[in-house]
Each structure stands twice: as C-alpha cells, then as structure tokens.
C-alpha cells in the first residue's frame, strides 16, 4: 500500500502554500475551457437539442415550466429538468445558444478544476495534474457539448458528487455527504445515468461516518428534496415506471442491505490509512457503474455509448493517474522528485497535443449545415414573409431542408391557428456574399455570419405537398407496398399556447415501419402552370446510386432519362401530374446504414433561367 511520500497541505492551509493548489486549479480550469472550446467548434443541430430549447421557451415565453425532461432510451423512464433549468436561466438573462455553449464549456472546465484541487489537497499533488489532463481528454471525446443536450454538463455535478464522497470518506465531515447528496440530486436530473453514483453514496455514507444512519438520513433527505424541487414530475414518472415493472421494492431492499453491510464494516474502514480509503473510495465509485452497464446491455439489450461513461470519468481519471503514479513512489523514497515524473509526462503530452491542435488545420467538427444562429435569421425572415413555422412543413426548399426546418423551430414564433394554403413554398439557399447572382432580387438576400448570405424567396410551386403519399416496398417479399398519406400536423397541434417540441423538432410525417431492405417512395402530386417549364433538383445526394432519385413522371412531359436526381418538366395543358421519388434502404446494392427520417427528400424547384440555377448545377 502507498505510504506517504509527501504530505498534503493540512490544517487550515494558511499562507502562500495554500494558494498554489488554487492557482494551479484555476490555470487548469482556464486551459480546459480553452481546449474544449477549440476542439468543439460550432453546433451540431439535433432533435434533442431543439426539443430542449423549445421546452425552455415554454417556460420563459409562456410561463409553463416543465419539471421533467425528455424520455430516456430506457422505456418509460424520464430525464429530470435540471438541464432545462440551465437553458431557462440563460434565456432569462438574455443569452442565446452561443451563451449556452460557453456556459457548458465553463461548467466542464470547472469540473476539471474541481477534480484538480480535490486530488491535490486530499490525495497527492503529484496525481492532480495527470488526473486533470486525463479528464480533459475524456471530456474532449464526447459529442454532447456541441449538440447542447443534457449530457453536455453531466461532468460537473458528477465531479461534485464524487469529490464530495472522497472528502467524506477521508474526513467523515457531514458537510461533504450533504454536498454529495445535493450534487447527486442535480446529477440524476441532468442525466439519469448518474444513478450509478447512488450506491456509492449509500456505501460511503454508511462506511465513513461515525454515525452512519444519521449521515444516510441527511443524505437521503437532501437528495430527495433536490430531486423533487427541481424535477418532481420526473421523480413521479420514474417511480411509476419502477412500480410498474415491480422494481421499486427490490431496489429499496437492496439499498437497505447495502447500507446495513456497509455500516457493519464502517469501523474497520475508518481505521484504514487515508491512502487505503482513497483507493477503496475510487473503486466504490466505479464498481456499480459496471454492474449497471451489464444490466442495461444484457438485461435490457440497450446499446452502449461513450457518453454514458460520465458518472465515472472523474474517479476513473484519478484512479488511472494513481496507478501510473504508483511505481514512481518506490524510487521517490530516495529521490522525491521522481513522483512528479507522471505529472511532467502528462504535461508534455498535453503540450504536444495542444501545439499540434492549434498549429494544424482547424478541427473538423461535426458542423451543422444550418447552425442555430443562421436558422434563427432565416426563421425571422420567414416570419416577416408571413410564414408560420407549421406551414413550412413540406414547404421549405433548401439543402438539408429537414435539418433547417427543425433548427428554425427554436426561434420561430408560436403556431398560427389558421393554416396557410396556396401553392407558395419558401426557398432558402446559402451562398457567398461575393457570389450573389446579378439578376437576383436583393430584397431576398439575408446576411448571415461571416462572408455568407442566404437567399430566402417564395416560389409558386408545382408540387402539392398537402397530398403527398409515402410508401415503403419490401425488397425481400413480393407483397404490395404499405402506403400512408403524409399528413401535415393536425389542426390541434397549432395551439398558440405551447411550442410543441415533438412536432417541431421531429416533423416526421408518416409511421410506416418496415425492416430493411426496402424501397421508400414519395408520390408528389403536380399542379403545373400551363405552357411553362420547371426544373426540379433533389439536393443532399448521398450517392448517385443510393440517394433519392426521381423514378417516374406521370401526366407532365419530361425528356429526361429516369432515374435521375434532376428533371425538367414542361406542361402544355396545365393538367395535373404525379412525380415519384424513391430511395433504397439496406439493399444489397446500397447496404449503408442510413437513417430514414420519414421526411420527404429536399427538392429545389426553379423556373427557366433562374439565376440560382448555377448554384445547384453540381
């Protein structure tokens, strides 16, 4: 077992020596913020992120605040509302999505700084730096921060919880178990995966205190109160889910058993050296997570993702740093500076990585085609043109139209109860400022950030999206295709009293489910103008063979060979027609694992000699 090679600052820690760990932690915090900001450029617009923004708007704009977060991937269990609380606070203070992003990185960096100072003062200064750098590396891997979803800030309450438990295990001071219980109440209601820190809380509360039941009672009260005050609807939903599956009583019995066993070993634990208690605490913080993951993957056949590691990132980083540090303590008996070798090495590795990252090409992040800031500008312009968000479903022509539509919902006004009819559709195309076509009407041009502008204009469409039919035809069986009218949002969802996150963030328009391989089609009724021509282009092609393609034109003349991604139509009589678009999913020729988002492909429509034609020529 480790013996004390160096002494941590003890007692009150007054004097210049006590400032060193604080300065070090502050530097680490700033470095972590700068690094995380650098490796996470821009936003990745996701349905989850948009939904959360809309739920926050329900509170700030309409005074209807949800005490529950979104549904988890484990059926019937719900996330809490603490992430929404953060979004609400930022909106109330006048911030936007850029402010949310900054706040997320600040909290992640503060988590790293907290780990640094706690390890420095309570374990070993020479482990603090490697542990902090490992935690920064782990946080750099997650994609949650650029999606601005609840998992973005999980590290912060998780680190507070784990740090509080470590301090309690080493000191037995009640303030730390209360701190941990409060932080865990937040952590669970940021992301439910933090529940894996609940068994460690019970075990350590019972092990480390001289009066374990008092500690357990205090921790329980604080944990339940924090959860209930912030997310009482989520607590109710999760309790009902546990009751429904018959899990509530077994879990309570298990918690009681763990507490009884831990309390029995408390005196022995408290008699151990602080180093031994620190090692045991680290293992206690990690072990239940492994059990939980096994239950999730084997019992519920749940997938696993790196993002779910957040409850154990800090303890794992500290333990890994301690394991690397351990051999150097042997040599440090004769030469104390040896114990700092892991810290120096981690610093050198971090400096090298940073030098490469900052001097090399810009980090290729998962940048959205339509960042929320741009979508907001376009949403404002659409509102000025008289468009309600709900009317834009099927009527928005743009690259990544589904993504743009969802992103616009974050800032679009409340639904207009009266639907918009007619053949008008909204076209949006992003071009460089210096490449605006000369024939274009400048009132259609909206400035975006940097050197970009968006052309936002209306067009009298030939397509009739209100009568779309979606079909799926199985490739492996010869049965008839299953079809569904791709209905627009029901009139009842146009209630001007809620932001309707579900329909806005995921405007899926049919519920056809078919196992792959299958061919998806959309049949689009055409209502052409007499004696006119129109060119239709499917944008967002993934590949010529496996992307969406026009496969049939009925009732309207076309000289193009089909299938094709571009088709020129001419109507001499103005009679109605039909356009069929299709795409294979999971077939032998197209085995990719693409997601069928149940929304029609993005089709851009142009008149003859349209100045925007050149931008879609490719």
């Amino acid at each position: 077992m480790i013996t004390g090679i160096e002494r941590t600052n003890s007692g009150t820690g007054a004097g210049a020596g006590s400032l060193i760990p604080i300065l070090c932690a502050l530097v680490i915090t700033l470095v972590a913020f700068a690094w995380l900001d650098h490796v996470n450029p821009g936003f990745l617009v996701s349905e989850d992120g948009i939904r959360d923004q809309l739920l926050a708007r329900d509170c700030t704009d309409l005074g209807q605040c949800h005490l529950i977060g979104p549904r988890t991937s484990v059926s019937e269990f719900q996330q809490g509302a603490v992430w929404l609380d953060l979004l609400i606070a930022i909106r109330l203070l006048g911030g936007d999505t850029a402010t949310v992003r900054t706040t997320v990185f600040a909290l992640m960096a503060l988590a790293v700084g907290t780990l640094c100072i706690v390890i420095w003062r309570w374990v070993r200064p020479s482990i603090a730096l490697p542990a902090s750098i490992l935690l920064i590396a782990a946080l750099s891997v997650s994609r949650d921060p650029i999606q601005l979803v609840n998992g973005s800030i999980s590290a912060f309450p998780d680190v507070l919880t784990a740090a509080g438990l470590l301090c309690y295990a080493l000191s037995g001071r009640y303030r730390f178990i209360v701190l941990s219980a409060f932080a865990l109440g937040l952590a669970i209601n940021v992301h439910i995966g933090a529940l894996s820190l609940l068994p460690p809380l019970i075990v350590i509360a019972a092990l480390a205190g001289a009066r374990p039941w008092r500690a357990l009672f205090a921790a329980g009260i604080v944990l339940v109160a924090t959860s209930f005050v912030t997310s009482r609807a989520a607590v109710l939903a999760n309790v009902l889910a546990l009751v429904k599956h018959g899990n509530l009583l077994p879990l309570l019995a298990a918690a009681l058993s763990i507490a009884l066993v831990s309390a029995r070993f408390g005196r022995r634990f408290r008699s151990l050296s602080s180093d031994a208690r620190a090692w045991i605490t680290g293992l206690i913080l990690i072990a239940p997570f492994g059990v939980g993951v096994l239950w999730l993957m084997l019992g519920r056949e749940h997938f696993f993702d790196f993002r779910y590691l957040h409850p154990i990132l800090a303890p794992a980083a500290a333990l890994a740093a301690a394991v690397v540090w351990l051999p150097f303590t042997l040599g440090a008996r004769w030469f104390a500076a040896l114990q700092w070798i892991p810290a120096a090495a981690s610093l050198a590795v971090a400096a090298t990585m940073a030098a490469r990252a900052y001097s090399g090409p810009a980090v290729a992040g998962l940048i959205a085609a339509w960042p929320l800031t741009e979508a907001s500008v376009i949403a404002d312009q659409a509102t000025r043109l008289g468009w309600s968000y709900e009317d834009l479903v099927f009527r928005l022509q743009a690259t990544e139209c589904n993504e743009l539509l969802a992103a616009m919902s974050v800032s679009a006004p409340l639904p207009n109860p009266v639907p918009r009819d007619g053949r008008s559709q909204l076209q949006v195309i992003k071009v460089r400022r210096d490449a605006i076509p000369p024939l274009l009407d400048l009132k259609d041009v909206v400035p975006l950030e940097g050197n970009m502008v968006a052309v936002v204009r209306q067009i009298g469409s030939w397509m009739r999206p209100d009568r779309l039919v979606a079909c799926r035809r199985s490739v492996s069986s010869q049965g008839a295709p299953t079809c569904s009218v791709a209905s627009r949002p029901a009139p009842e969802t146009r209630r001007p009293e809620q932001f309707l996150f579900a329909t806005r963030s995921a405007p899926g328009i049919h519920s056809l489910d078919l196992p792959t391989p299958y061919v998806a089609t959309y049949e689009v009724p055409l209502s052409p103008e007499t004696g006119a021509s129109r060119e239709l282009v499917i944008v967002d092609q993934t590949s010529p063979e496996c992307g969406w393609r026009f496969t049939r034109v009925d009732g309207v003349h076309s000289d193009d060979r089909l299938p094709a991604s571009r088709v020129r139509l001419h109507s001499a009589t103005g009679e109605s027609g039909l356009l069929v678009i299709e795409k294979p999913f999971g077939t032998t020729a197209c085995p990719g694992n693409e997601v069928d988002n149940r929304y029609p492909p993005c089709v851009f429509e142009m008149r003859k000699d349209d100045p925007l034609m050149a931008f879609l020529a490719g």
Binding site: I22, L179, L186, V229, A237
Partner: protein, 210 residues
C-alpha cells in the same frame, strides 16, 4: 366506478388509456391503429369533467328517454361511448379527433359502432357540443400533457370525498406532474445557484485533516 376513476387519475397523467366507467376496451390492434393515426394528440385528465357531464346527461334522460346510462372509455386519443338503453341493446359510438372544422360537435368525429343509429350519433354529438366548450385533445407527449399552470386540480378533501385514499393519491400525482410557474422556476434557479456556489467554494476551500 370508484376504482376505475382512481386508475384513471394516475393513468391519464402518464398518457395511458383508462375507463371512467365500464366501457369495453378496444382490441389492442385497433387501439394501436388509432394511436398511430393521431400520434400528436391525446385526451388528458382534463377531459374527464366533460365526459362526466355527458354521463350525467344520460342518467337524467337528456340523451333520450330510452337511454338509462352512458359508459365512457377514454383511450389515448379517442373515446368510446356506450349508450345503455332500457329496452334495446347497447349502442356503441367512437369519438375521435375531428379532421375538419365543419359541423357539430366542433372537436369530435362521432362514428356509429355496434347497435348505434344516426339518431344516436346526432344526440351524442349535440351533447358533446354542449359539454365541451374547449378542445379536449391536447398535444400528446405523455407527462408533457400534465395540467398547465392555472388549470383547476381538485383539492385533497374533494379527492378524498370522491375516491377515498386512492383519490387523494391521484390528486397528489396530478399536483406533482403539473407544470410549474415561471416564478417557481426562478426560485428553484436561485436555490440551485446558491447550492452550487456553496458546493464549489466548500470543495475548493477544503483541506484534508491529515
């Protein structure tokens, strides 16, 4: 009826269907089909008062002298009404969200089921027009259907009087699931900020006792 009512209180909060009184459930496949057809909509607990009034109208003869009672089954996004008649077999009617804004009642499509006539449809439609002054169909997002700020929720005493302890539990569940006001959320935010700042200061200022 008491038990059915209490089951409804909690079940409606989480978006499950429930029966106010005795109506036979639809087959699972029919239920799923309806759920899929109007995915975005749900009948919430708030609709219960309207349907209770419909039942009272039946008991008082306002749905016709031959109708003794009405059973109502409320499902996720549709309802089933059984008119219990004194001399004729039960008439079944299906209430679904209305697809157009024409005709009466304004919020329901009333379709005749087993044993129902056009006359049954007409009188149930008239009654629904009378008892539902606002659209009972809400966007269907389970707990997000919970009672909105300012929506009336029965008190504990009222709940106990109508349904005993189960009634009290149901009302507590509704209070718990209900949306909160902005002022409540601001108060929670202040508490959270204070707690987080105190936690960070405690950890950053702490030292090991050894």
């Amino acid at each position: 009826m008491g038990l059915a009512h209490q089951a409804c209180v909690v079940a409606a909060v989480v978006g499950a269907h429930c029966a106010i009184a005795g109506a036979q459930p639809l087959t699972p496949s029919a239920d799923e089909a309806f759920a899929g057809r109007w995915r975005g909509l749900a009948l919430t607990k708030d609709c219960e008062d309207g349907f209770r009034r419909l039942m009272q109208m039946a008991q008082s003869g306002q749905l016709g002298k031959d109708v003794a009672q009405a059973n109502v089954g409320i499902f996720k996004n549709h309802a089933r009404v059984e008119l219990v008649r004194r001399e004729l077999p039960i008439a079944v009617l299906l209430l679904t969200p209305k697809d157009s804004s024409d005709g009466m009642p304004p919020y329901f499509s009333v379709e005749p089921g087993m044993g129902a006539t056009a006359e049954d449809v007409a009188r149930v439609a008239r009654a629904l027009d009378e008892v539902f002054t606002e659209n009972p169909f809400r966007p269907a997002y389970d707990f997000f259907n919970a009672s909105r700020v300012g929506a009336p929720i029965p008190g504990i005493g009222e709940a106990y009087a109508s349904g005993g302890w189960r009634g009290v539990l149901g009302v507590l569940a509704r209070h718990t699931a209900a949306l909160a006001s902005l002022s409540y959320t601001v108060a929670v935010l202040v508490m959270l900020v204070a707690g987080i700042v105190a936690s960070v200061l405690l950890l950053w200022g702490s030292t090991s006792p050894r």
